[in-house]
């Protein structure tokens, strides 16, 4: 009737919201390529415990029903399903007739599979239905939920239509009520079956239904309306969960507290570590009876065979206290807050003054105002002053002295101070492990390796003054009044440093030499101070020798007296004996030359004034170091001499940075390019002056031949030695007005003694001391942190073997991270502390677990020696397996215990529960002490019971094909939940 020439239109203009919704679901299913999805085989083949341990993935998209937005998510176990290839499709089409009847859809197989009951960690739907791939629809509208029955039916209908239209075999669920309720209903359509998923959740358990017998009756009733249908074989899996969460029966006094108590001894260099609270909140034991036939066990209200000792499978899991208080974290974290305190020392100490007026402190303030005046040194602070302290403060001299002694006086037994923490009494195990001393040695080696790695950090060497300073200051912060204690000790320390500087005492316990840029900034600064002190000592020594006869001895002696041997170190300044020889000679009447000279030029020295008169006149030379090869001066043909030069000044990294910044700033402007050269020419200029002094009558070309030989072309001679072409300076050196020529013209002949000092020790020393005393608290904390972090890491590394299995790689990574971080200008200490906290928690958890599981068996005296020996042997092997368990528990969400109750580990766990039960009973009846409890009382009542019942049965009528049916029941204290999946044959009903 229709004209075939007319195009056929399909009209969707009047499609309802419902139809649109179904269409969008179908589109989604097609888009995700789900209609052709098949399993890759039985779950047991994918991997054991696949549902709990495999890799789950998900994919989501939003759909809307009218204005109601929802999120569709596909959860699937990676690798458990695949898209059917076209070959398979073709093949299946052929075999369809036979296959159709034979195999159940894979999701239905999963319902019946008992290989994946009770996964350790899985989505609740996976746990309840044992499925591997499913879709879930959840409202995506804030608090809006699907809670009415008509909404539910509407959605379920839509889903069902969509599934059937696309021929998608995946179960599709609808999230009901609030997500926390974990209630969902769903449907699966495959091969003419419809499987409906439904749930019941009650607050109270109906009487009798918390037992296997009760549930079996319920299941059978649902299937065939007759609980007397005894030929229906039901497969059962059962799991009971027992929990310990009250640890009060443990004597907690074995965990020491690092209290900030006033009377506690101040422990330097030993940072506190470990958990301050019980880090484990729950210890759970799950015992299960997998795959039982229904009639094997009896579990009714009257009697139950289901006790842990009989269970073939044991599993343990633990829950942790989140963010437990840990000493090290607290110790470091508290100090980390100082990093953000920008108050100046004056302000802090000022507020302290207003607190309690203290003449001594007022003095400090005065001195702060004029840094030239020295803050009282150690000797002065030792002097007793009037008592005024009520609280513990650094103003208490005795404590202050303790701190100052620790910082400034290196003690011999410093190395041994850091001993093992011994937080938890672990003695019995270590003796049990005695036979495994090789292992111990290995551990010690590992710890050594870590310490070696820590040494490479940009901090300071262990037990150097910087190290001790950092630890003393953080200790002062914690035990002696927070920032006030910190500030006060800092002031005292800087005062002491100034004392060293002014008196010319080298600061000990730090490597000599120029600032080592591989160390932390404070280390460099102290080294720099030492450089200043050394340079000045050397200078003063020279001066005093120069005026040996005139100068009163006492000043010199003073300078000489207390100088430690390091001061002789030749690395710094105008150095070593040859210098001193030279300088000494220069003020005697004749210039006797240094080693290797031919003494031909011993003419009397002229006064400096004479130099400027005649530049080219042959003058007496000064400041010669050694002849420069066989080179002769161009104009005078005299031997060319290498002059004694000033060493460039030592610099700390912040000084270098400052200089680099200055160059950066100038170099960006081409006009200033000359300026940067000028800035850096001080050393060149000094060398030119020295060269002129050592080589009277020289010219720039001579200087260049020594200083930059590549800028000089040697004269070309013919065979007879006649100069064919004169030697010449490179083109760039001869450009008129270039920097080298400028400088050369300005340079006067002057030996280093009469030059401006390149390294002004007084100025640099004062600069550092001034900087230290005017720092803000945050700056101080920044200087101290590197060593503190290293000390903390060291502390953790000592216990690295007590941690979880991946502790060692974790620490390796952390140290690497720290290494990087400390090289930054502003290291992220917060992040480092957080990572250290993680390590600390890991160790604390492991230790706590050991403490719980390694309870010594009470020796039974009646035992014979043989028995006792056997018991000892058993204990040894159990120690190893229990240690395994501890490490497993830290690694995995759930640990299976091989051998269940009868294994060594099983006994240890039984013991643990028994002790807890005893403690509980002791509260009421005191008679049960040290008696073994009967098996039925060893464990508390289970906090959770889970039952899975499943069977195959034809529904809805006897002529239908058999489908899979399953009920999952969980009974906890305040929840009774049934999750059922029942199949109906839609073809033969």
């Amino acid at each position: 009737s229709q004209d075939p020439s007319l195009p056929e239109f399909k009209d969707f203009t009047t499609a309802t919201e419902w139809e649109k919704f179904i269409a969008s679901l179908e589109q989604l299913i097609e888009e995700w390529r789900l209609p052709n999805i098949v399993s890759t085989g039985p779950l047991a083949n994918v991997s054991t415990g696949a549902l709990g341990g495999g890799e789950w993935k998900s994919r989501s998209e939003t759909v809307s029903f009218a204005s109601f937005r929802m999120m569709v998510t596909r959860h699937y176990l990676e690798g458990s399903t695949k898209e059917r290839s076209e070959e398979d499709q073709a093949k299946e089409a052929l075999e369809e007739t036979e296959e159709y009847q034979e195999s159940l859809p894979f999701a239905m197989d999963d319902l019946l599979s008992f290989t994946n009951d009770f996964p350790a960690k899985a989505h609740f739907l996976v746990r309840w239905y044992g499925i591997r791939d499913f879709l879930l629809i959840t409202p995506d509208m804030g608090d809006d939920t699907i809670s009415t029955v008509d909404r539910q039916k509407m959605l379920l209908g839509s889903v069902c239509t969509a599934l059937r239209n696309t021929n998608c075999q995946l179960p599709f669920f609808i999230q009901m009520h609030h997500p926390q309720e974990k209630i969902a209903c769903g449907v699966m359509c495959a091969q003419g079956f419809h499987c409906y998923f439904n749930m019941v959740k009650l607050v109270h358990t109906p009487k009798g239904y918390d037992t296997l017998n009760g549930l079996l009756t319920l299941f059978k009733n649902k299937l065939c309306n007759s609980s007397f249908y005894t030929h229906l074989p039901v497969d059962v899996s059962i799991r009971f969960t027992y929990m310990l969460d009250d640890w009060s029966f443990f004597d907690l006094n074995s965990i020491p507290s690092h209290s900030l108590d006033v009377d506690q001894v101040i422990k330097f260099g030993d940072l506190p570590m470990g958990a301050g609270v019980e880090p484990i909140s729950e210890f759970r034991l799950m015992v299960s009876w997998p795959h039982l036939a229904e009639d094997v066990v009896n579990d009714s209200i009257a009697h139950s065979d289901l006790v842990p000792a009989n269970a073939p499978e044991w599993c343990v899991t633990i829950k942790y206290v989140s963010g437990p208080y840990c000493y090290l974290e607290n110790y470091l974290g508290e100090f980390e807050t100082v990093l953000s305190k920008n108050e100046s020392l004056d302000l802090v100490l000022g507020s302290m003054l207003s607190d309690d007026i203290d003449p001594e402190l007022a003095n400090v303030m005065d001195r702060l105002a004029e840094p030239k005046v020295r803050v009282p040194d150690l000797a002065a602070s030792i002097m007793p002053s009037d008592t005024r302290e009520k609280r513990r403060r650094l103003t208490d001299d005795e404590i202050l002295i303790k701190f100052m002694n620790y910082i400034f006086i290196p003690s011999i037994d410093q190395e041994t101070v850091l001993s093992s923490s011994g937080h938890i009494d672990f003695g019995d195990i270590s003796t049990a492990l005695g036979s495994q001393s090789a292992e111990k040695l290995e551990e010690a080696d590992e710890v050594e390796k870590f310490k070696e790695k820590l040494r490479a950090l940009k901090t300071s060497s262990k037990n150097s003054i910087v190290w001790r300073l950092s630890l003393a200051l953080i200790e002062a912060y914690h035990t002696c009044g927070g920032i006030e204690g910190l500030a006060l000790l800092w002031v005292k320390v800087v005062g002491e440093l100034r004392h060293h500087f002014e008196r010319g005492y080298i600061i000990s316990s730090i490597e000599p030499g120029a600032p080592n840029l591989g160390m932390c900034l404070l280390h460099q600064k102290i080294q720099m101070l030492n450089c200043c002190i050394e340079t000045r000592n050397a200078r003063e020594l020279r001066e005093s020798r120069k005026q040996k006869k005139k100068v009163p001895i006492d000043r010199m002696a003073n300078c000489h007296f207390k100088m430690p041997p390091q001061s002789e170190n030749p690395t710094e300044g105008e150095n070593s004996s040859s210098d001193e020889d030279f300088f000494e000679c220069s003020d005697s009447t004749s210039t006797s030359e240094p080693v290797g000279d031919d003494k031909s030029e011993g003419t009397p020295i002229q006064s400096p004034d004479d130099f400027k008169t005649l530049d080219d006149a042959p003058l007496s030379a000064e400041g010669r170091s050694k002849p420069f090869g066989a080179l002769k001066l161009l104009s005078t043909d005299e031997q060319m001499w290498v002059p004694v030069c000033q060493q460039p000044s030592p610099m700390t990294e912040d000084m270098l940075q400052e200089q680099a910044d200055a160059i950066l700033k100038l170099a960006s402007d081409p006009e200033c390019s000359k300026m940067t050269a000028r800035l850096q020419s001080a050393s060149l200029f000094s060398d030119m002056e020295s060269f002129k002094a050592a080589n009277p009558g020289c010219q720039l070309a001579d200087f260049v031949r020594w200083f930059s030989p590549r800028d000089w072309t040697e004269p070309i001679r013919d065979e007879k030695g006649e100069i064919v072409k004169a030697g010449e300076l490179s083109q760039r050196m001869t450009i008129p007005g270039n920097m080298w020529q400028d400088l050369w013209e300005q340079a006067r002949p002057a030996p280093t003694t009469r030059q401006k000092r390149l390294f002004d020790d007084t100025k640099e020393g004062e600069k550092i001391l001034h900087e230290l005393i005017t720092m803000s608290l945050s700056d101080i904390a920044n200087l101290l942190f590197p060593c503190i972090i290293q000390c903390g890491l060291e502390k953790i590394c000592e216990s690295v073997h007590k941690g979880p299995r991946d502790m060692i790689p974790f620490m390796e990574h952390l140290i690497e991270k720290t290494k990087q971080e400390l090289r930054m200008r502003r290291p992220n200490y917060k992040d480092l502390i957080r990572r250290m906290y993680e390590a600390e928690i890991g160790i604390a958890r492991a230790e706590s677990l050991r403490q719980k599981l390694f309870r010594k068996e009470e020796p039974e005296e009646t035992e014979s020696s043989l028995k006792r020996y056997l018991a000892m042997k058993a204990q040894e092997s159990s120690t190893v397996s229990v240690e395994e368990l501890v490490l497993d528990l830290l690694d995995k969400p759930e640990v299976e215990i091989r051998g269940g109750a009868k294994s060594a580990v099983g006994r240890a766990i039984t013991k643990l529960f028994e002790n807890a039960q005893k403690a509980k009973l002791e509260d009421t009846t005191l008679s049960t002490k040290s008696r073994r409890l009967p098996a039925s009382q060893q464990f508390p009542t289970p906090i959770g019971k889970e039952f899975i019942l499943r069977t195959k049965y034809p529904r809805p009528s006897n002529n239908s094909r058999t489908g899979a049916h399953r009920i999952y029941a969980v009974i906890t204290g305040n929840e009774f939940r049934l999750a059922g999946a029942f199949t109906e044959d839609m073809l033969f009903y």
Binding site: E55, W56, K57, S58, H75, K121, A122, H123, F124, R127, W128, P179, Y320, L517, G518, P648, L656, A660, I663, A667, S668, S673, T676, A677, Q680, S681, S683, L684, D687, F707, S708, P709, R710, D711, R732, M733, I735, N738, M739, W740, P804, D806, M807, F810, H813, Q820, R823, N828, D831, E838, A839, I841, G842, R845, P893, G944, E946, V970, T972, E975
Partner: protein
Amino acid sequence: MEEAITTLKVLIIGEADVGKSCLLLRFVEDTFDTQLTSTIGFDHKSKVITVFDNKVKLSLWDTAGSERFRTLTASYYRGAQGAVLVYDVTCRESFEKLDSWLIELETYATHKNIVKMLVGNKVDKHEQRQVTKQEGISYARRHQMLFVEASARTSENVTGCFEELVAKILHTPGLWTKKNDRENITLTDAPDNLGDGSVCGYC
């Protein structure tokens, strides 16, 4: 303009008068100046270049080649990710001194895996050549360096040399970090790939 993903510090070292400053000038400003004086101490230039579609800021430190400046310059090696070692193909001595520069680098550079590029400069002076290309290549191979011959005068290979160096640095793990790049490895908190977080069936 998008921001540079990172700043790389590159040193230019080598004997005096091999053309370090000229190379740098050619690269940064694309000019050649015969009137350049011998560098005193240090000079600095910077340039943003694009490598692998990423903008990278180069902080280029030109050093003085003269012996007496060495103690001063060594301190600037800190934190450098790359080093350009320059020699003059017309001067054998500058090639033979490369060893001492490598030792210098090893001593003062903070990154142990610093990327090194060997550049034979002044290849435009064909008739004065004293070091063959093959020698340069085998030296670079012995010391695991990149190698190129270039001329600051004719600008041959100059830009390519720096780009290659940067590409290599970017490919070297651990040598540089992206701005705000922080990795996350946790010890105690196992990843939970079920958004729902239902770890346990009940409670």
